[in-house]
């Protein structure tokens, strides 16, 4: 995993249960949105995250967000 992907995984866990959209997650991390989106697949498959449709806790827009996978 790239350092940005690792940061995203950490941030999503830290923000949980408050989901951030990709734009707000990128702003929070001081990164560009397209860079966050580019590493999101690896964060999902190797970082234990999932893609869910939620309302962003920051900008209150509805859209795809990253969230920790639920452990059964």
């Amino acid at each position: 995993m790239t350092p940005l992907a690792q940061r995203i995984v950490g941030a999503v866990h830290q923000n949980s249960p408050h989901p951030y959209c990709f734009a707000c997650l990128a702003a929070q991390q001081g990164a560009k949105e397209h860079d966050v989106r580019a590493v999101a697949l690896i964060a999902i498959t190797r970082g234990g995250l999932q893609l869910v449709r939620r309302i962003c806790s920051r900008c209150h827009r509805s859209g795809e967000t990253l969230a920790p996978q639920k452990v059964a």
């Binding site: 995993m1 790239t2 992907a5 949105e33 397209h34 860079d35 966050v36 989106r37 580019a38 590493v39 999101a40 697949l41 690896i42 999902i44 498959t45 190797r46 893609l51 795809e64």
Partner: protein, 164 residues
């Protein structure tokens, strides 16, 4: 051991009489289906490898490229059915690569999916460059496969999923 290697075994079998061979129904060999070729062009190594691994397990023949120039070269060499193209890549970007690919007569049937982290504002430019579909990252491999097979079936309704 030595007996098995003696003259009798080395001789070619005698041809069967014509009557006997014609009376027997001949087995028709099933035509071997060549796996569909997919080109994955992305400068993000992890994503490229992940998609490549997934599509290989799903029965595709996968070709990868890490930049725009490599994507054009690989497309001309392998003539893939579908190309999944990132936009932000070194050397030449995805849009220019698509234009060069679509300019070649051999690649007119090739379908192009743009998969990018950039905003949908670029969708129009991508479609004008010759892309067939614009998807935004992240896209799970299963979902990408649905789009890939959808485009393949649009092109030829007989084409199913290669794994089935």
């Amino acid at each position: 051991m030595l007996k098995a290697c003696s003259g009798k075994w080395d001789m070619a079998p005698e041809p069967r009489p014509l009557e006997q061979s014609s009376a027997r129904p001949q087995r028709r060999r099933r035509p071997t289906r060549r796996p569909p070729v997919i080109l994955l062009a992305d400068d993000t190594t992890d994503s490229r490898d992940l998609y490549a691994e997934y599509f290989e397990t799903r029965g595709f023949s996968v070709v990868t490229a890490r930049d725009g120039t490599g994507a054009v070269q690989a497309a001309l060499e392998h003539v893939p059915e579908v190309i999944v193209m990132d936009l932000a890549m070194p050397q030449i970007d995805g849009l220019t690569a698509i234009q060069r690919i679509k300019a070649d007569a051999r690649l007119q049937q090739t379908r192009v999916i743009v998969l990018t982290g950039y905003h949908f504002a670029l969708e129009r430019s991508a479609l004008e460059a010759g892309a067939d579909l614009f998807l935004r990252k992240p896209c799970l491999p299963e979902r990408l496969e649905l789009h890939v097979n959808g485009l393949r079936q649009e092109q030829n309704p007989d084409r199913g999923t290669p794994a089935t």
